[in-house]
């Protein structure tokens, strides 16, 4: 049995006979060899059921890492594994916000904002206060409040110094400092 293509390629001439399509699914099954460990271990819907289970363990692993599949180099596979482990450890997006003098803390989702101005505006609204304008050299000018955050290293940093994406990935919590503590840090 062979398949004829529209362009008239006669497979019989090369005798490289291709797998049989659709209707011959059952036959395709039996051509899978008994010691074929690869396909039988992958739990995918739609894949032919490999009846030859000589090597199947009692509890077939659902996400088994199969020998030679997928066909990517070991180096790359190892890189991806390492990265997965790394990603699991990064700071989340919901952070606590405290304001000096306020009775209780709030929680915000940093992902909801796309820039510093948006974040600061939201904080101003939430706590009914004014935060002032950011300056690289002077800190926050024009109010008694200065927004700060605790980063991955545990240090308290002024909000606005680093690029936004870096900030939201390393920010663990926010603290809006007030009054005497901010003196010396800004241009009051």
């Amino acid at each position: 049995m062979e398949v004829n293509y529209e362009n008239g390629l006669n497979l019989k001439a090369t005798e490289l006979r291709l797998g049989l399509p659709g209707t011959d699914e059952p036959e395709r099954q039996t051509t899978l060899r008994p010691n074929k460990r690869t396909l039988s271990e992958i739990s995918c819907s739609g894949v032919t059921d490999d009846g030859n289970d000589d090597h199947q363990e009692s509890a077939p692993p659902a996400k088994a890492q199969v020998v030679g599949w997928p066909p990517i180099r070991s180096y790359r596979k190892n890189c991806l594994q390492a990265k997965k482990n790394e990603v699991e450890g990064t700071a989340g997006r919901y952070v606590k916000v405290s304001v000096d003098g306020a009775a209780y803390l709030r929680k915000i989702d940093l992902k909801a904002y796309r820039s510093y101005p948006e974040l600061l505006e939201a904080l101003e609204k939430m706590f009914k206060l004014t935060i002032g304008a950011y300056s690289e050299t002077e800190g926050y000018c024009g109010s008694e409040y200065a927004p700060t955050y605790e980063d991955k290293d545990g240090d308290w940093m002024l909000v606005g110094d680093v690029l936004w994406e870096m900030f939201i990935s390393s920010c663990k919590r926010l603290r809006i400092m007030k009054g005497s503590e901010t003196r010396g840090m800004g241009c009051l």
Partner: protein, 539 residues
């Protein structure tokens, strides 16, 4: 051009063929042939007549051996006495995917011993899928006083101690290119083995080593090697350190960054951007580990002349990569992760009309619940915008026969078509038919008569495929069939019919005696090899 020169001289030889051998002095012929670099041309030249065969072999300085078992080092040395550069490939390609037993062979040492005796002026060695020990690397380092270039890809058996030996002893080293290998990375101190007086390095690639290196040492090395044109760093080098290196090496043609993710102040970012913008000669950019989208604009000015961009270690989103590609109009080769999705590939089609090679790797190959990734749509989009595409590696979640037909129609020059649908055995998701038509479309339009290597796995091909058209093995370098339907008897028959083919079978534990689990067939003038491990049977 050399070829027309040869044609003219060939004509003149033919017309005087009966009497005038000495009318074309050998020295002149050798001088002309010395300029010939292409292997195909040299093969043709050597077949013209005995004089030309001799002239060619004396003028050849570089030999390429696609399968280390197809010939022996003694035969090579006998035929080509003046070799200075060797490229050697060993294990079958599927060894990259752990489908070949570890002790399979392809050990470089026997070759090095012959080379040390016959080619003491050897300058370059490029190895792919060979087994190399630290002892071999040390032997190499001390045996060839003129040694200039070492390149290793997909090799294994050595550690960073071997690199230390190279750095210590190779006083004239120009190139140290350590690509993806199974290297035992013990530590970064090998870099300190380059002497203070050493200044000749032009190519340094240690991108795929994981351990930390001493940045101070690296900075000094880069500073004193004024001709450095290729520098590929590993993850341990930060963005800030990258900026310091670039300031000293603006003439870099190929750059592999280290980790491309760090909390930079705005000033530090601007300094990095400035340093990169001064790299006007850059044609290859790689590394970019964990690249954050926001830092990519720093690269824009460096991308103008880029022909090869490797983003396969940066999980970028479609919008980010689209913005970057808008600055890469001359791109010929692009490697990405499937996080860019089909939209990102549309941007490829829109921005990179000169593209010839595309590789899309899976970011999460073991995740059953792949919702994202790329599909047939992305590949088709690229094919519409990039008619010169001829080399593709594509890991996707779904594909259709129709898409493949469209792709090969848009891109008629395909030489390498590697498609991997992440769920094995997945049919065409639209028609639910197997992907046979796609297979046929590619084969027909790529021209099977020119087949050099054929690799088949997990397919129901049997002895008929193995034994039909035996003459095809004359022009093919090798054939690999694993998890197919080939039997031992079929292999024995092939071995009997074609005595100049090596037919090797790798048996798996516990498999049926009559089945040939993995078959590797290749032509060889060196005869059956004598160093195969017990799990490999030569028939």
């Amino acid at each position: 051009m050399e070829t027309s020169e040869l044609k003219r001289s060939k004509d003149s030889v033919n017309s005087y063929e009966s009497a005038r051998r000495s009318s074309f002095p050998d020295e002149v012929l050798e001088r002309v042939l010395f300029l010939l670099k292409s292997h195909r041309d040299r093969s043709s030249v050597s077949l013209v007549c005995k004089d030309w065969y001799n002239a060619e072999r004396w003028s050849r300085t570089h030999v390429f051996i696609g399968n280390c078992y197809s010939v022996s080092p003694e035969i090579v040395a006998r035929r080509f006495p003046r070799i200075r550069s060797v490229t050697l490939k060993g294990k079958p390609r599927f060894s990259d995917f752990n489908l070949v037993p570890e002790n399979w062979g392809a050990d470089i040492h026997a070759w090095l011993v012959v080379f040390a005796a016959k080619f003491p002026f050897l300058e370059e060695l490029r190895l792919k899928r060979m087994a190399i020990s630290d002892e071999s690397l040390e032997f190499l380092a001390v045996s060839f006083p003129n040694f200039k270039a070492l390149s290793l890809l997909s090799c294994d058996g050595f550690s960073t101690n071997g690199l230390a030996a190279i750095a210590t002893h190779c006083k004239n080293l120009i190139e140290l290119d350590i690509q993806e290998n199974g290297i035992d990375d013990i530590g970064g101190s090998w870099l300190s083995c380059f002497p203070e007086s050493f200044t000749t390095l032009e190519v340094l690639n240690f991108a795929n080593l994981t351990s930390d290196i001493n940045f101070d040492t690296l900075e000094k090395l880069v500073g004193r090697c004024k001709s450095m044109r290729v520098l590929k760093l590993n993850r341990s080098v930060s963005l800030e350190q990258l900026q310091r290196l670039l300031v000293n090496a603006p003439r870099l043609a190929e750059l592999g960054t280290g980790l491309f993710s760090q909390e930079l102040t705005i000033r530090e970012y601007e300094e990095l951007e400035s340093a990169l913008s001064h790299c006007k000669n850059m044609h290859t950019l790689s590394g970019l580990w964990d690249a954050k989208g926001i830092y990519l604009p720093a690269l824009y000015l460096a991308c103008t002349h880029l022909t090869f961009l490797n983003l396969s270690y940066a999980a970028l989103q479609s919008v980010e990569v689209a913005k970057l590609l808008a600055h890469c109009p001359r791109l010929k080769r692009l490697w990405v992760l499937d996080t860019v999705e089909d939209k990102g590939l549309e941007a490829v089609g829109l921005n990179c009309p000169l593209l010839e090679e595309l590789r899309v790797f899976p970011a999460d190959p073991f995740d059953d619940e792949i919702v994202h990734g790329v599909t047939d749509a992305g590949f088709v989009a690229v094919s519409f915008g990039c008619p010169r595409l001829h080399y593709v590696l594509y890991f996707c979640s779904q594909m259709t026969n129709a898409a493949v037909a469209t792709i090969v129609q848009n891109c008629p020059d395909f030489t390498h078509f590697r498609l991997c649908i992440m769920n094995p055995g997945q049919p065409d998701y639209l028609t639910n038919e197997p992907m046979d038509e796609a297979f046929g479309a590619v084969c027909v339009l790529s021209g099977c008569p020119k087949l050099r290597k054929l690799e088949i796995r997990d397919c129901p091909f049997g002895n008929a495929a193995l034994l039909s058209g035996l003459e095809k093995y004359e022009s093919m370098r090798s054939l690999w069939m694993s998890a197919c339907n080939v039997t031992m008897n079929g292999c024995r028959l092939l071995a009997r019919e074609m005595p100049w083919l090596n037919v090797e079978v790798m048996k798996e534990d516990g498999s049926d005696d009559s089945q040939a689990d993995k078959v590797y067939v290749y032509r060889s003038i060196a005869g059956p090899r004598r160093d195969s491990p017990p799990s490999v049977l030569t028939l």
